[in-house]
Protein backbone atom coordinates (compact mmCIF):
# COMPACT_ATOMS: atom_id res chain seq x y z
CA UNK A 1 0.00 0.00 0.00
CA UNK A 2 2.89 2.33 0.73
CA UNK A 3 4.03 2.00 -2.88
CA UNK A 4 0.61 3.13 -4.17
CA UNK A 5 1.54 6.84 -4.16
CA UNK A 6 4.08 7.13 -7.01
CA UNK A 7 2.23 4.50 -9.07
CA UNK A 8 -1.02 6.43 -8.80
CA UNK A 9 0.66 9.67 -9.85
CA UNK A 10 2.14 7.92 -12.87
CA UNK A 11 -1.27 6.63 -13.88
CA UNK A 12 -2.90 10.04 -13.55
CA UNK A 13 -0.22 11.83 -15.58
CA UNK A 14 -0.09 9.08 -18.21
CA UNK A 15 -3.86 9.26 -18.50
CA UNK A 16 -3.66 13.03 -18.81
CA UNK A 17 -1.09 12.86 -21.60
CA UNK A 18 -3.20 10.23 -23.35
CA UNK A 19 -6.13 12.67 -23.08
CA UNK A 20 -4.05 15.42 -24.70
CA UNK A 21 -3.00 13.06 -27.50
CA UNK A 22 -6.61 12.08 -28.08
CA UNK A 23 -7.71 15.73 -28.17
CA UNK A 24 -5.05 16.38 -30.81
CA UNK A 25 -6.18 13.33 -32.79
CA UNK A 26 -9.80 14.51 -32.61
CA UNK A 27 -8.85 17.90 -34.07
CA UNK A 28 -6.76 16.21 -36.78
CA UNK A 29 -9.56 13.88 -37.82
CA UNK A 30 -12.03 16.77 -37.95
CA UNK A 31 -9.62 18.95 -39.95
CA UNK A 32 -9.04 16.21 -42.56
CA UNK A 33 -12.69 16.36 -43.59
CA UNK A 34 -12.89 20.15 -43.59
CA UNK A 35 -12.57 20.40 -47.35
CA UNK A 36 -14.95 23.29 -47.96
CA UNK A 37 -17.12 25.85 -46.18
CA UNK A 38 -20.91 25.57 -46.11
CA UNK A 39 -21.39 29.07 -47.54
CA UNK A 40 -19.13 28.18 -50.48
CA UNK A 41 -21.26 25.14 -51.32
CA UNK A 42 -24.31 27.35 -50.85
CA UNK A 43 -23.17 29.77 -53.57
CA UNK A 44 -25.08 27.56 -55.97
CA UNK A 45 -28.35 28.21 -54.13
CA UNK A 46 -30.58 31.11 -54.98
CA UNK A 47 -30.38 34.07 -52.65
CA UNK A 48 -33.37 34.96 -50.54
CA UNK A 49 -35.49 37.99 -51.33
CA UNK A 50 -36.64 40.70 -49.01
CA UNK A 51 -38.52 39.55 -45.97
CA UNK A 52 -41.53 41.32 -44.60
CA UNK A 53 -42.24 39.98 -41.18
CA UNK A 54 -44.29 41.91 -38.70
CA UNK A 55 -45.75 41.52 -35.29
CA UNK A 56 -49.22 40.10 -35.89
CA UNK A 57 -50.24 39.63 -32.26
CA UNK A 58 -49.00 40.90 -28.93
CA UNK A 59 -49.85 38.82 -25.90
CA UNK A 60 -50.05 40.99 -22.79
CA UNK A 61 -50.80 39.76 -19.34
CA UNK A 62 -47.65 38.72 -17.57
CA UNK A 63 -46.59 40.96 -14.72
CA UNK A 64 -42.90 40.42 -15.19
CA UNK A 65 -40.23 39.06 -17.57
CA UNK A 66 -41.37 36.28 -19.88
CA UNK A 67 -38.80 33.52 -19.52
CA UNK A 68 -40.03 30.63 -21.62
CA UNK A 69 -42.72 29.62 -24.08
CA UNK A 70 -43.81 26.63 -26.09
CA UNK A 71 -46.36 25.97 -28.84
CA UNK A 72 -49.13 23.43 -28.63
CA UNK A 73 -49.31 20.94 -31.53
CA UNK A 74 -52.60 22.53 -32.55
CA UNK A 75 -50.51 25.46 -33.88
CA UNK A 76 -52.60 28.05 -32.12
CA UNK A 77 -52.13 27.63 -28.39
CA UNK A 78 -49.07 28.77 -26.52
CA UNK A 79 -47.90 28.26 -22.96
CA UNK A 80 -45.65 30.90 -21.41
CA UNK A 81 -44.01 31.29 -18.04
CA UNK A 82 -42.72 34.34 -16.26
CA UNK A 83 -40.69 35.73 -13.40
CA UNK A 84 -44.03 36.74 -11.90
CA UNK A 85 -44.59 33.09 -11.02
CA UNK A 86 -47.43 32.63 -13.48
CA UNK A 87 -47.84 30.13 -16.28
CA UNK A 88 -50.41 31.21 -18.88
CA UNK A 89 -51.95 29.27 -21.75
CA UNK A 90 -52.98 31.59 -24.61
CA UNK A 91 -54.97 31.17 -27.78
CA UNK A 92 -52.55 32.98 -30.08
CA UNK A 93 -55.20 33.56 -32.80
CA UNK A 94 -57.52 35.50 -30.51
CA UNK A 95 -54.95 36.52 -27.82
CA UNK A 96 -57.34 35.20 -25.16
CA UNK A 97 -55.89 33.68 -22.02
CA UNK A 98 -57.34 30.22 -21.59
CA UNK A 99 -55.66 29.07 -18.41
CA UNK A 100 -53.47 30.60 -15.76
CA UNK A 101 -51.61 28.91 -12.94
CA UNK A 102 -49.75 30.61 -10.15
CA UNK A 103 -46.64 28.68 -9.24
CA UNK A 104 -45.42 28.58 -5.65
CA UNK A 105 -42.22 30.27 -6.76
CA UNK A 106 -41.18 33.19 -8.91
CA UNK A 107 -38.81 32.74 -11.89
CA UNK A 108 -40.68 30.01 -13.72
CA UNK A 109 -37.88 29.44 -16.16
CA UNK A 110 -39.20 26.50 -18.10
CA UNK A 111 -42.49 25.47 -19.56
CA UNK A 112 -43.62 23.03 -22.21
CA UNK A 113 -46.84 21.94 -23.88
CA UNK A 114 -47.64 18.22 -23.94
CA UNK A 115 -47.90 16.71 -27.43
CA UNK A 116 -51.45 15.67 -26.54
CA UNK A 117 -52.36 19.29 -25.86
CA UNK A 118 -53.92 18.21 -22.61
CA UNK A 119 -51.25 19.25 -20.17
CA UNK A 120 -48.36 21.60 -19.54
CA UNK A 121 -45.15 21.12 -17.64
CA UNK A 122 -43.27 23.87 -15.88
CA UNK A 123 -40.70 24.58 -13.23
CA UNK A 124 -38.08 26.95 -11.99
CA UNK A 125 -36.77 28.02 -8.63
CA UNK A 126 -38.92 25.41 -6.93
CA UNK A 127 -36.43 22.80 -8.26
CA UNK A 128 -39.32 20.73 -9.51
CA UNK A 129 -40.92 19.89 -12.79
CA UNK A 130 -44.69 19.88 -12.35
CA UNK A 131 -47.29 18.73 -14.81
CA UNK A 132 -50.72 20.38 -14.86
CA UNK A 133 -53.55 18.77 -16.81
CA UNK A 134 -55.49 21.48 -18.66
CA UNK A 135 -59.12 21.62 -17.74
CA UNK A 136 -61.93 23.90 -18.81
CA UNK A 137 -64.14 22.66 -15.99
CA UNK A 138 -64.83 25.67 -13.80
CA UNK A 139 -65.32 23.45 -10.79
CA UNK A 140 -61.77 22.21 -10.93
CA UNK A 141 -58.78 24.36 -10.24
CA UNK A 142 -55.67 23.51 -12.19
CA UNK A 143 -53.51 23.73 -9.11
CA UNK A 144 -55.49 20.95 -7.46
CA UNK A 145 -54.61 18.48 -10.19
CA UNK A 146 -50.91 19.31 -10.27
CA UNK A 147 -48.42 16.43 -10.28
CA UNK A 148 -44.73 16.71 -9.55
CA UNK A 149 -42.74 14.59 -11.92
CA UNK A 150 -39.16 15.42 -11.07
CA UNK A 151 -37.13 16.80 -8.20
CA UNK A 152 -33.86 18.43 -9.06
CA UNK A 153 -31.07 19.59 -6.82
CA UNK A 154 -31.19 23.02 -8.34
CA UNK A 155 -33.50 25.18 -10.41
CA UNK A 156 -35.21 23.85 -13.50
CA UNK A 157 -33.91 25.69 -16.55
CA UNK A 158 -35.56 23.72 -19.33
CA UNK A 159 -38.11 20.99 -19.81
CA UNK A 160 -39.54 19.27 -22.79
CA UNK A 161 -41.99 16.45 -23.42
CA UNK A 162 -39.83 14.78 -26.04
CA UNK A 163 -36.36 13.51 -25.30
CA UNK A 164 -34.31 16.64 -25.21
CA UNK A 165 -31.03 15.26 -26.48
CA UNK A 166 -28.94 18.36 -26.25
CA UNK A 167 -27.57 20.49 -23.55
CA UNK A 168 -25.66 23.73 -23.69
CA UNK A 169 -23.12 23.29 -20.95
CA UNK A 170 -21.23 26.55 -20.56
CA UNK A 171 -19.35 26.99 -23.84
CA UNK A 172 -19.77 23.34 -24.79
CA UNK A 173 -22.64 21.80 -26.66
CA UNK A 174 -23.04 18.09 -25.96
CA UNK A 175 -25.05 15.50 -27.82
CA UNK A 176 -26.35 12.61 -25.71
CA UNK A 177 -27.59 9.16 -26.60
CA UNK A 178 -30.69 8.91 -24.41
CA UNK A 179 -30.65 5.12 -24.36
CA UNK A 180 -27.11 4.70 -23.12
CA UNK A 181 -26.89 7.98 -21.22
CA UNK A 182 -23.63 8.54 -23.04
CA UNK A 183 -22.33 11.80 -24.42
CA UNK A 184 -21.42 10.89 -27.98
CA UNK A 185 -20.25 14.21 -29.40
CA UNK A 186 -19.20 17.55 -28.00
CA UNK A 187 -18.45 20.91 -29.57
CA UNK A 188 -16.58 23.73 -27.94
CA UNK A 189 -16.14 26.63 -30.35
CA UNK A 190 -18.27 29.32 -28.74
CA UNK A 191 -16.35 31.91 -26.78
CA UNK A 192 -18.95 32.23 -24.07
CA UNK A 193 -21.94 30.50 -22.52
CA UNK A 194 -24.42 28.84 -24.85
CA UNK A 195 -27.99 29.88 -24.08
CA UNK A 196 -29.97 27.89 -26.57
CA UNK A 197 -29.63 24.89 -28.87
CA UNK A 198 -32.07 23.62 -31.48
CA UNK A 199 -31.94 20.76 -33.99
CA UNK A 200 -32.01 21.48 -37.72
CA UNK A 201 -35.24 19.88 -39.03
CA UNK A 202 -33.43 16.88 -40.56
CA UNK A 203 -31.78 16.09 -37.24
CA UNK A 204 -28.32 16.03 -38.87
CA UNK A 205 -27.27 19.39 -37.49
CA UNK A 206 -28.07 21.84 -34.75
CA UNK A 207 -27.79 25.57 -34.10
CA UNK A 208 -26.69 27.31 -30.94
CA UNK A 209 -27.05 30.85 -29.60
CA UNK A 210 -24.47 32.24 -27.22
CA UNK A 211 -23.45 35.14 -25.01
CA UNK A 212 -20.54 35.66 -27.42
CA UNK A 213 -23.11 37.36 -29.74
CA UNK A 214 -22.92 34.63 -32.36
CA UNK A 215 -25.12 31.77 -33.45
CA UNK A 216 -23.39 28.73 -34.92
CA UNK A 217 -24.36 25.67 -36.92
CA UNK A 218 -22.81 22.28 -36.14
CA UNK A 219 -23.18 19.33 -38.49
CA UNK A 220 -23.37 16.05 -36.55
CA UNK A 221 -22.19 13.81 -39.38
CA UNK A 222 -19.19 16.01 -40.21
CA UNK A 223 -18.69 16.41 -36.46
CA UNK A 224 -17.79 20.10 -36.64
CA UNK A 225 -18.96 23.68 -36.71
CA UNK A 226 -19.95 24.55 -40.28
CA UNK A 227 -21.23 28.10 -40.01
CA UNK A 228 -21.04 31.18 -37.80
CA UNK A 229 -23.83 33.75 -37.89
CA UNK A 230 -22.42 37.04 -36.69
CA UNK A 231 -21.94 40.69 -37.52
CA UNK A 232 -19.65 43.33 -36.07
CA UNK A 233 -22.72 45.36 -35.20
CA UNK A 234 -24.18 42.55 -33.10
CA UNK A 235 -22.51 42.67 -29.72
CA UNK A 236 -25.18 41.35 -27.39
CA UNK A 237 -25.77 37.69 -26.64
CA UNK A 238 -28.26 35.51 -28.45
CA UNK A 239 -30.67 33.99 -25.95
CA UNK A 240 -32.81 31.76 -28.10
CA UNK A 241 -32.75 30.24 -31.60
CA UNK A 242 -35.11 28.27 -33.82
CA UNK A 243 -35.30 27.14 -37.46
CA UNK A 244 -38.05 27.74 -39.99
CA UNK A 245 -39.80 24.62 -41.31
CA UNK A 246 -37.36 23.92 -44.17
CA UNK A 247 -34.33 24.83 -42.10
CA UNK A 248 -33.33 27.61 -44.48
CA UNK A 249 -33.97 30.39 -41.96
CA UNK A 250 -32.59 30.67 -38.44
CA UNK A 251 -34.33 33.06 -36.08
CA UNK A 252 -32.30 34.40 -33.17
CA UNK A 253 -33.61 36.39 -30.22
CA UNK A 254 -30.99 38.69 -28.73
CA UNK A 255 -30.32 40.62 -25.53
CA UNK A 256 -30.31 43.90 -27.50
CA UNK A 257 -34.11 43.49 -27.88
CA UNK A 258 -33.93 42.49 -31.57
CA UNK A 259 -34.56 39.35 -33.58
CA UNK A 260 -32.10 38.61 -36.36
CA UNK A 261 -33.12 36.34 -39.22
CA UNK A 262 -30.24 34.42 -40.85
CA UNK A 263 -29.87 32.55 -44.14
CA UNK A 264 -28.64 29.25 -42.69
CA UNK A 265 -26.83 28.18 -45.88
CA UNK A 266 -25.22 31.42 -47.03
CA UNK A 267 -24.47 32.71 -43.54
CA UNK A 268 -25.90 36.18 -44.18
CA UNK A 269 -28.51 38.09 -42.24
CA UNK A 270 -31.73 38.52 -44.19
CA UNK A 271 -33.74 40.59 -41.76
CA UNK A 272 -33.72 42.31 -38.40
CA UNK A 273 -36.94 42.66 -36.46
CA UNK A 274 -37.66 45.37 -33.92
CA UNK A 275 -40.53 45.59 -31.52
CA UNK A 276 -39.63 44.24 -28.13
CA UNK A 277 -38.74 46.77 -25.48
CA UNK A 278 -36.38 44.57 -23.56
CA UNK A 279 -34.32 41.38 -24.00
CA UNK A 280 -35.81 38.62 -26.09
CA UNK A 281 -35.60 35.60 -23.80
CA UNK A 282 -37.37 32.86 -25.73
CA UNK A 283 -38.30 32.16 -29.35
CA UNK A 284 -40.12 29.27 -31.03
CA UNK A 285 -41.45 28.66 -34.53
CA UNK A 286 -45.00 27.29 -34.64
CA UNK A 287 -45.46 23.58 -35.42
CA UNK A 288 -46.69 24.25 -38.98
CA UNK A 289 -44.14 27.00 -39.59
CA UNK A 290 -46.68 29.73 -40.33
CA UNK A 291 -45.44 32.03 -37.58
CA UNK A 292 -43.00 32.29 -34.74
CA UNK A 293 -43.42 33.59 -31.24
CA UNK A 294 -40.96 35.55 -29.12
CA UNK A 295 -41.12 36.21 -25.38
CA UNK A 296 -39.33 39.09 -23.73
CA UNK A 297 -38.29 40.72 -20.49
CA UNK A 298 -40.74 43.48 -21.57
CA UNK A 299 -43.50 41.18 -20.17
CA UNK A 300 -45.03 40.45 -23.58
CA UNK A 301 -45.03 37.77 -26.23
CA UNK A 302 -45.20 38.66 -29.90
CA UNK A 303 -46.37 36.51 -32.78
CA UNK A 304 -44.54 37.29 -36.05
CA UNK A 305 -45.49 36.26 -39.58
Amino acid sequence: MATEGPQENETVSSLRSEAETLKGKLEEERAKLHDVELHQVAERTEGLGQFVMKTRRTLKGHGNKVLCMDWCRDKRRIVSSSQDGKVIVWDAFTTNKEHAVTMPCTWVMACAYAPSGCAIACGGLDNKCSVYPLTFDKNETMAAKKKSVAMHTNYLSACSFTNSDMQGCDKKAMVWDMRSGQCIQSFETHESDINSVRYFPSGDAFASGSDDATCRLYDLRADREVAIYSKDSIIFGASSVDFSLSGRLLFGGYNDYTINVWDVLKGTRVSILFGHENRVSTLRVSPDGTAFSSGSWDHTLRIWA
Binding site: E4, E8, T11, V12, L15, R16, A19, L22, K23, L26, E29, R30, L33, H34, D35, V36, E37, L38, V41, A42, R44, T45, L48, V52, M53, R56, R57, R76, F93, Q182, C183, I184, Q185, S186, F200, P201, S202, D204, A205, D219, R221, A222, D223, R224, V226, S244, L245, S246, G247, R248, L249, V264, L265, V285, D288, G289, T290, A291, I303, A305
Partner: protein, 67 residues
Protein backbone atom coordinates in the same frame (compact mmCIF):
# COMPACT_ATOMS: atom_id res chain seq x y z
CA UNK B 1 -8.76 11.67 -3.19
CA UNK B 2 -6.22 10.17 -5.56
CA UNK B 3 -8.61 7.42 -6.63
CA UNK B 4 -11.02 10.18 -7.63
CA UNK B 5 -8.36 11.77 -9.81
CA UNK B 6 -7.63 8.49 -11.54
CA UNK B 7 -11.32 7.80 -12.01
CA UNK B 8 -11.86 11.26 -13.46
CA UNK B 9 -8.84 11.01 -15.74
CA UNK B 10 -9.92 7.54 -16.92
CA UNK B 11 -13.42 8.84 -17.63
CA UNK B 12 -12.03 11.73 -19.67
CA UNK B 13 -9.81 9.39 -21.70
CA UNK B 14 -12.73 7.01 -22.27
CA UNK B 15 -14.92 9.90 -23.41
CA UNK B 16 -12.25 11.22 -25.76
CA UNK B 17 -11.69 7.73 -27.20
CA UNK B 18 -15.40 7.52 -28.00
CA UNK B 19 -15.47 10.97 -29.58
CA UNK B 20 -12.25 10.47 -31.55
CA UNK B 21 -13.47 7.15 -32.89
CA UNK B 22 -16.81 8.17 -34.40
CA UNK B 23 -17.35 8.03 -38.13
CA UNK B 24 -17.32 11.36 -39.91
CA UNK B 25 -18.16 12.56 -43.39
CA UNK B 26 -16.63 15.38 -45.38
CA UNK B 27 -18.03 18.88 -44.93
CA UNK B 28 -18.62 19.02 -48.70
CA UNK B 29 -21.01 16.07 -48.45
CA UNK B 30 -22.68 17.34 -45.27
CA UNK B 31 -23.14 20.79 -46.80
CA UNK B 32 -24.72 19.42 -49.96
CA UNK B 33 -27.13 17.35 -47.87
CA UNK B 34 -28.16 20.39 -45.82
CA UNK B 35 -28.66 22.39 -49.00
CA UNK B 36 -30.76 19.68 -50.64
CA UNK B 37 -32.90 19.31 -47.54
CA UNK B 38 -33.66 23.05 -47.56
CA UNK B 39 -34.30 23.18 -51.29
CA UNK B 40 -36.71 20.25 -51.25
CA UNK B 41 -38.80 21.82 -48.52
CA UNK B 42 -38.52 25.49 -49.46
CA UNK B 43 -41.86 25.63 -51.23
CA UNK B 44 -43.69 24.42 -48.13
CA UNK B 45 -41.98 26.75 -45.67
CA UNK B 46 -44.53 29.51 -44.96
CA UNK B 47 -42.06 31.86 -43.30
CA UNK B 48 -39.67 31.46 -46.21
CA UNK B 49 -41.95 31.88 -49.19
CA UNK B 50 -44.75 33.76 -47.51
CA UNK B 51 -48.36 32.70 -47.65
CA UNK B 52 -51.24 34.93 -48.67
CA UNK B 53 -53.16 36.54 -45.84
CA UNK B 54 -56.18 34.39 -46.63
CA UNK B 55 -54.22 31.25 -45.75
CA UNK B 56 -52.29 32.46 -42.73
CA UNK B 57 -54.47 32.65 -39.64
CA UNK B 58 -52.14 35.20 -38.09
CA UNK B 59 -52.28 37.62 -40.97
CA UNK B 60 -55.31 39.84 -40.69
CA UNK B 61 -57.75 39.77 -43.53
CA UNK B 62 -59.43 43.00 -44.42
CA UNK B 63 -62.19 43.55 -41.90
CA UNK B 64 -65.73 43.38 -43.18
CA UNK B 65 -67.93 46.36 -42.77
CA UNK B 66 -71.52 45.75 -41.89
CA UNK B 67 -73.72 48.11 -43.77
Amino acid sequence: MSTNNIAQARKMVEQLRIEAGIERIKVSKAAVDLMNYCEQRARNDPLLVGVPASENPFKDKKPCTIL
